[in-house]
């Protein structure tokens, strides 16, 4: 944009601010009103959340909160282990903590440029997943076995998210490639599958995976409910991600693939060496967006009876003792989701900037 289309005086930052906030009397009024409103809400919030809040309750009872006007963070103090780890055996909860930390660490590491290759990403996530299973599931190295039915809280939510993405990402590549195949039968199948899944709500797909698959699968293939639901969720993720990848592939100039063909590269090499790397690069911002949505959608598994972060939050204030403290518990859970979502979307924006720099 040039100064012709954007006639903002550029002599100083102060001048720009004045132009944005105090241009006309109406602007001054709106700015003053917003400022007052922000101050009022901010003060109320500060008073509620910090100044008159009850932070701790010595005997783990809700009595100190009942007379206070502010937030009752004592409920978090009393119930944080339930919220984070669900009904995981109490004495073994350090294992759930280590397993969760492994997943978070892997997530952080995979954002580093050092790990930006398919092989390294795959190795990193397989290692993290194996570590998670060793600590969470146990049954090896002298750790007692804890079946998935007892997993819960943040640990279960993150596990679901990571498992869905690990299963769904390769599936989405397959679907995207099938959809642009020259063979009509394969292309048609992919279209039916992708559009069919996208027309259905996620909950119905999870429900189907939990209830219908036991009917149609032979006994040896059924497995635990959690694996079936992950498979259903991964299919849902893959259907959306396949469309994201397809748009990334379509943004490539046709000449790229034709040049690869002219060089005598076979289909496999064309796809893995020329098409996919560039398609992923094009589709990176919407992929991050898809990951954010998927992370938030994992909260839907509470509906089919898993004890994830959402459900353990409900349980944390569900007893008579703390039933008044629902705002605090929901705020805490929103904060946990918010931290993950916020860092993912910030990372997405950083990538977008970086990619723009590289391509121009």
């Amino acid at each position: 944009m040039t100064d012709m289309t954007h006639p903002i005086p550029r002599n100083s930052r102060l001048e720009q601010l004045r132009h944005r906030f105090l241009r006309t009397p109406l602007d001054i009024a709106v700015t003053a009103a917003s400022l007052l409103l922000a101050l009022f809400v901010g003060w109320k919030l500060l008073d509620w959340a910090v100044l008159s809040a009850v932070w701790t309750s010595p005997d783990g009872l809700s009595q100190p909160c009942r007379d206070a006007s502010g937030a009752c963070w004592a409920v978090i103090e009393a119930r944080w282990r339930l919220i984070l780890f669900g009904v995981f055996p109490y004495a073994e909860q350090w294992r759930a903590a280590v397993a969760t930390a492994a997943l978070i660490l892997a997530g952080g590491l995979s954002c580093l440029p050092l790990f930006w290759s398919v092989i390294r990403q795959a190795l990193l996530w397989i290692a993290a997943f194996a570590l998670f299973m060793v600590f969470m599931h146990g049954g090896v190295f002298g750790l007692s076995s804890v079946p998935p039915a007892q997993w819960g809280g943040l640990a279960l939510t993150l596990f679901f998210f990571v498992a869905v993405v690990i299963v769904g990402m390769p599936l989405s590549i397959c679907l995207a490639l099938m959809r642009r195949s020259d063979l009509p039968v394969i292309r048609g199948t992919a279209i039916i599958l992708i559009d069919g899944v996208r027309a259905l709500p996620l909950v119905t797909i999870l429900f189907t995976a939990a209830l219908i698959l036991p009917f149609v699968l032979p006994g040896w293939l059924q497995g635990d409910k959690i694996w079936r639901v992950i498979a259903g969720f991964a299919l849902f993720f893959a259907a959306y991600q396949a469309e994201v990848l397809r748009s990334g592939i379509q943004a490539l100039p046709r000449g790229q693939e034709e040049a690869a063909k002219a060089l005598g590269m076979g289909y496999f090499h064309r796809i893995t060496r020329v098409v996919l790397p560039q398609a992923f690069r094009n589709a990176l911002p919407p992929t991050i967006n898809q990951l954010v949505i998927t992370l938030m959608e994992t909260s839907l598994i509470v509906i089919i009876g898993f004890f994830d972060l959402m459900a353990s939050g409900n349980a944390a204030y569900g007893t008579g003792e703390w039933s008044f403290a629902y705002v605090e518990v929901y705020a805490f859970i929103a904060l946990i989701y918010g931290v993950f979502v916020f860092s993912l979307s910030r990372y997405g924006r950083y990538l977008e900037r970086r990619l723009r720099v590289g391509s121009s």
Binding site: S34, G196, T204, F207, V327, G338
Partner: protein, 385 residues
């Protein structure tokens, strides 16, 4: 033989045949396993159960429903409830989204900040968490005995929001809503389709009046047919015993879900609309201003229509998404389609048939939304480019 393998046509034909065979094998084995499972568990399949009575009660229902009703009626109740919540949520989310988007594109920096904060905050909290939060909030309102009364006749209580209403049956209400929807579609079609652009202004005016009159007449007829006998037409809620009687009651489940979808969906809608507003070339707005249009008219007559045209396909997807989001109803106990299907499954055990109905219902409803909005998109798209 090696030359045959290298023949491209032969290879692709073989590949496809093998693929079809694999899919067939999977499907056939799934069907036979399902038949085996059903036989060994001694279950009956088929749709005969639809005429049996359910024996369960559900919370909110616009249509007549009690425990003696059949599964057919129960599913119909769920469909109507889903449609009500979906349409209500979509309308509210668009109102919220439009306001926030208008703030985001305004020249005033503080309004931009408010809009940005709204979007960042509500887009990063899962919808189900917001729904549960609003549900906890509306059910923690005071008991009917000491209800808030912000306006005369409007009572906010933990058992729902009570307001004066018409004493008519739920079927009549559903019929009226249907009439209004059809009327709105007919009106939009008449206003937008190029076919009607060529007729003279006075005949267009008559046409508009005819459509509005017919819609109102149909609504009046439906209301009159559905009147509850021996009751005044307008009933006001009054406290009797532990709860309010009479009037129109908005149940807390519907309130919470509608608020949640409006706020969460509104954040997404506002981002879509903002992109649309920014896609309108500046020259168009400057031309409109140069022609002497006032800022309000520049917005409503030039900026909004052009932005809307630019983003309608994206908005269509968002509408379908919000319609699918009604399935969260089960988390707070709102009797939408998914909820009634899941209690029917526990009650009757006809899992396969009921899930089939559920999926078919959503496929039909979502495709209907896409179809209508795609027609709209085609009607308002730029011609001749």
């Amino acid at each position: 033989m090696p030359s045959l393998l290298r023949n491209r046509k032969f290879r692709s034909a073989t590949l496809q045949v093998l693929f079809v065979l694999a899919v067939m094998v999977i499907l056939v084995s799934a069907v036979t396993t399902a038949q085996d499972t059903i036989a060994t568990n001694g279950m009956r399949s088929g749709f005969g159960f639809l005429d049996r009575t359910t024996g369960v009660n559900i919370g909110f229902s616009v249509l007549q429903y009690d425990a003696n009703s059949t599964y057919r009626q129960l599913i119909l109740v769920g469909l109507v409830n889903t449609a009500i919540l979906g349409i209500l949520g979509i309308i509210l989310a668009h109102i919220v989204g439009l306001v926030v988007a208008a703030m985001a594109i305004s020249r005033n920096g503080s309004l931009n900040l408010v809009a940005q904060g709204y979007v960042e905050l509500f887009r990063s909290i899962p919808l189900i968490l917001q729904a549960l939060f609003w549900y906890a909030l509306v059910t923690h309102l005071p008991a009917p005995r000491n209800a808030h009364e912000p306006l005369p006749g409007l009572f906010l209580t933990g058992r729902g929001i009570f307001m004066p209403g018409l004493s008519v049956t739920g079927e009549a209400v559903a019929l009226v809503l249907g009439c209004l929807l059809l009327g709105a579609i007919a009106f939009a079609w008449f206003m937008i389709d190029h076919r009607f652009r060529r007729i003279s202004d006075s005949r267009r005016r008559t046409g508009r009046l005819v459509i509005i009159g017919l819609t109102l007449l149909a609504c009046a007829l439906a209301l009159n047919a559905g009147r509850v006998p021996d009751m005044p037409l307008i009933s006001v809620p009054e406290l009797r015993g532990l709860n309010f009687r009479g009037g129109f009651a908005l149940p807390p489940e519907l309130t919470a879900l509608a608020i949640a979808i409006a706020i969460y969906g509104g954040a997404y809608v506002s981002e879509i609309l903002r992109a649309g507003f920014q896609a309108v070339p500046r020259g168009q707005l400057e031309a409109a201003a140069a022609l002497g249009l006032r800022p309000l008219h520049v917005f409503t007559r030039v900026h909004l229509p052009m932005a809307f045209r630019a983003v309608l396909p994206t908005l269509t997807n968002q509408c379908v998404w919000m319609f699918k989001a009604t399935t969260l109803g089960i988390a707070v106990g709102y009797s939408d389609l998914f909820y009634v299907i899941s209690i029917s499954i526990t009650q009757s055990g006809q899992t396969l048939e009921l899930i089939g109905i559920l999926m078919l219902g959503f496929l039909v409803m979502n495709n209907m939304i896409s179809f209508l909005l795609n027609r709209l998109n085609k009607a308002i798209a730029l011609k001749g480019t």
